[in-house]
Symmetry: D2
Amino acid sequence: MTDVPHCPPQPNPAGLRRVAVLTSGGDAPGMNAAIRAVVRTAASQGIEVIGVRRGFSGLHRGDFVTLGPRDVANTIQRGGTILLSARSSTWRTPEGRARGARHLRAHDVDALIVIGGDGSFHGAHFLQQEHDIPVIGLPGTIDNDLYGTDHTIGYFTAVETALDAVDKLRDTGASHERIFVIEVMGRHAGHIALDVAVAGGAEEVFIPEDAKDMNSVLDTVRSSVKRGKLGSIIIVAEGYPGGATGVAAAIQEGTGMETRVSILGHIQRGGTPVSSDRILASRLGEAAVYALMEGRKGVMIGRQNHEVSYTPLNETWEQRKDVSRDLYRCARTLSI
Amino acid sequence: MTDVPHCPPQPNPAGLRRVAVLTSGGDAPGMNAAIRAVVRTAASQGIEVIGVRRGFSGLHRGDFVTLGPRDVANTIQRGGTILLSARSSTWRTPEGRARGARHLRAHDVDALIVIGGDGSFHGAHFLQQEHDIPVIGLPGTIDNDLYGTDHTIGYFTAVETALDAVDKLRDTGASHERIFVIEVMGRHAGHIALDVAVAGGAEEVFIPEDAKDMNSVLDTVRSSVKRGKLGSIIIVAEGYPGGATGVAAAIQEGTGMETRVSILGHIQRGGTPVSSDRILASRLGEAAVYALMEGRKGVMIGRQNHEVSYTPLNETWEQRKDVSRDLYRCARTLSI
Amino acid sequence: MTDVPHCPPQPNPAGLRRVAVLTSGGDAPGMNAAIRAVVRTAASQGIEVIGVRRGFSGLHRGDFVTLGPRDVANTIQRGGTILLSARSSTWRTPEGRARGARHLRAHDVDALIVIGGDGSFHGAHFLQQEHDIPVIGLPGTIDNDLYGTDHTIGYFTAVETALDAVDKLRDTGASHERIFVIEVMGRHAGHIALDVAVAGGAEEVFIPEDAKDMNSVLDTVRSSVKRGKLGSIIIVAEGYPGGATGVAAAIQEGTGMETRVSILGHIQRGGTPVSSDRILASRLGEAAVYALMEGRKGVMIGRQNHEVSYTPLNETWEQRKDVSRDLYRCARTLSI
Amino acid sequence: MTDVPHCPPQPNPAGLRRVAVLTSGGDAPGMNAAIRAVVRTAASQGIEVIGVRRGFSGLHRGDFVTLGPRDVANTIQRGGTILLSARSSTWRTPEGRARGARHLRAHDVDALIVIGGDGSFHGAHFLQQEHDIPVIGLPGTIDNDLYGTDHTIGYFTAVETALDAVDKLRDTGASHERIFVIEVMGRHAGHIALDVAVAGGAEEVFIPEDAKDMNSVLDTVRSSVKRGKLGSIIIVAEGYPGGATGVAAAIQEGTGMETRVSILGHIQRGGTPVSSDRILASRLGEAAVYALMEGRKGVMIGRQNHEVSYTPLNETWEQRKDVSRDLYRCARTLSI
């Protein structure tokens, strides 16, 4: 690393020399930016990085690659994850984790960074508990439903992708004076739905956090037509009971008006990450390496109120992050 | 029009003084550019333009607006249609057409320009036959399935929108090593599917024009995995029997591999038109006015081999435009 | 407003009945979303809105329009400002402000909302001081250089537009192994430059807030080539002494390597606003109306740490918002 | 190649066994799609491909890599060129070409495919003449100024990128009622400028193929303001004498109106290629391999009127492709 300029060494009381990194669960735009930040921050500190391919499934099988600064060149703008991801059930068992731990020790790995959602943090948590391997979690999921960080890596891009689709659907919806019921991602949380609804000028938004009175929705739709609106946009989080299909059926039955359903699906996971995701991922990847050097472990690194924050992994799934109630109210006011 | 500079008057043997324009059927990006071109070309020639709102349904009800050059300012880049569209069954009856004709005559309209697909041209054709009102058709449909023109207005944008979605799905598909089966628009024709497949680097493409041997498809998918491909993209036109859902089920059953279905749907209709659609629409809108001034009628105006072409309206639905067989073959070669 | 559903009345101790709104200074994406939020929030509370066209210049001339909920339909996604903007020197004089105040009183306007930067807030501040007309400022500028809010309306879109250009330039830069020196907006502040540099994976970033040692920059560039990087991206804020042209000349002279300059310019002001700008503008527009109803005045409404904040107008230009020093350091680490 | 399915062998009377490919001159979006098509078509026929890095400069130095079907995976959507490009003066000399020829023979290369513009075809032409190595040219340049093909690889994307910038500038220009004079690429030809002008709804377009009467332009601008247009867009090809800067100065002096200049520059070279460029590149890359197998050489492969065409290399620079005069006239009519 003699050639790397200008990066002052940080204190390394933990004596970190080699760290592994993996991506797990559903992929999210910005994961590559996080990997890159881990690799380059580590390199600037003389620490080596091992990439684990295919998440915990690869950890279990020892599917490892060495990652240097040039290996992550030209990846910051790429969607998906160069380390691949997979859903795995092996790490759910003590045996699976024991195998993973053996692979890590055999490669002289001092610590593991896991980029993913709370399901992935579960696995990481038990790995640390059972095998005393320090782990750090980075919030990588489009759903933004992790306690302990204002935003998750991938969230901003998913909102932008969904919003772009809503803008397109409004064009055609307004031309035909139709009601479009659009389902966005969010199995347990309405963060994406709410942002898309406000930014997309939607008539109504359905989120898992709140049950709607369907009669009041029907009133809104009818009154909106009376007020001369051309077409309506209604956003439904996938986790709302019945989904977009259920909501559309209820509206069509209740008002007799033509509705169309659009389920945006997996496009929300892909694509070039927007700047906010790249920057968040860069900051968190950097912070993860420094945290391990300082001896931190068992925490998810997030950003809250523009500061780095450290949340014990178990709190990320035990506690719950609510949607912004202010924004939920605002969505209603602005749709008149 | 005294202030309009530099537009030399064209011969007007037909004595055209006032023309009506409407958009009909499914909306397509670029329809506004076509309306704008009709309005401005007419204005440059001292001809007035009446916009008919909501397609044939509005024609039937006399839903008319006057359109001057400033009314179409800042519309060339907008998706949808400022004249609105609607599917109507009234013009299918002689009575419906008679009512529309009365409205046109009451407003001193000399001729009608219809922007839409072959269904809309049907109505236009009979209006001219029964009421001697000259009509001109402009090909406005994303499906590109109109005989008599190399491309239709909206087609290029629809392909680009679908391709953008495919690029995003490939990111996530490759990260998870999954097979994505993506359904694009095209009820009767595989033009969009084929272009998207070639441009998106798809493994396979299913179009209504050609029945596939499913065993051979399964071989392709299996061999693709064997050759080390991360994830596969398979494109299906909505008009292929079974659609994406059917194809995905067959692949999953036949290979045991995990597949995901994505139905892109109406987003393909919306959005800012790409340059090719705006330019095509501008050229065709201009040509429509000149054609009526020259006394042409009962034809669709298209472009073939970079020249304006005139196709009798009935041929647009009696004849069939095939997909490019060369490109279909090329798609296969390049997916290895 | 009897038809508007579900919007509970807020306390209105100030007795607000009619409010004016204007956009001033350089336009920023999201200004329309802010206008829309003001209009619709007001309408939900039975308050009328007057739009002032062409900023303070229009205020001075009484260039007013009434704005109802339907007038702002389909504007949330539009760049620019439907109220137009202008740079004006008339409001800098007491006479100019007196004329504006007379127009406002003649139209029974109770308060004025000004969407713009600190220059515009100056005018608003003196208008209130001299004529006792309550004013509220909303931060509308792409530069993000306003004290009293974490982000300004338009900033997120400007960063995204500049980043998109950087991604494109990297493609061609890497293919030719060239150094691209790219100038982004920011006359007094490096916020855009810094975000774009981190998100764009730039080698170096030059901001007005910090003078660089050019020798160290030359070392970085040389070492980057030695480490096998294909092409380099260097970001320069327009306010850095010499701009991109000066930096490029110094690099070319110092290293003998081929450099290209790209000055992104006004494209950074335009375009469909991204979700973050639309949401921020929606929240701030809503908060502005409620603030006036509560009797607040002479403040800029911002958001800090996810809460609405109120900053006396004069502080917005007397105090200074620094760039994130953490991010500035991070930019360096991640470019190795 | 035993595993490659379904690609019927083509006749190979030329006995082609190994072909080299290089990209040369300014890079263009879609070059990677062309390389990919060459590699995969060749592989499907049992022919090996050698990639030459850094254009003729690399040919001269023997900078070669082997390219198999997996090496070009996931490249169809990437801007730039994975083979890198360079401007080289070595191949302009007989000695330079002789060295290149020796390298090709030493690697048993039977033929060379050159992707670039007419400058690059010059080099290829002499290489064939002097050393009897069959060469094929593929038109890769954003300028679309090559005789012998309707469109060149990269042209469609460059137009789209420039148009996107124009759409953004119109937002801000209309908000400030300014005249924007925008310079697009095209040193010798106005193809990009003309398409962008029509699609962008520009007031005027200046192309190298036609000298404008500046007085008439000033009339247009003045009359446009009189007719109530908010802001004007004027497009200038870089090859027009004086460029955008000269045109803007003349307008400002002649009308006293405020003008802004925007020079779009190199962003027009980069970015993900649009579908039309990917498809064109795919078709041409495939055709290049088949052409060599059939024994063709010394020709550029293009597409004209939807058919593959073969043009002797020397004609590509000796003959000239004009812009569409119809479209040039249309631009004027539609800007009223």
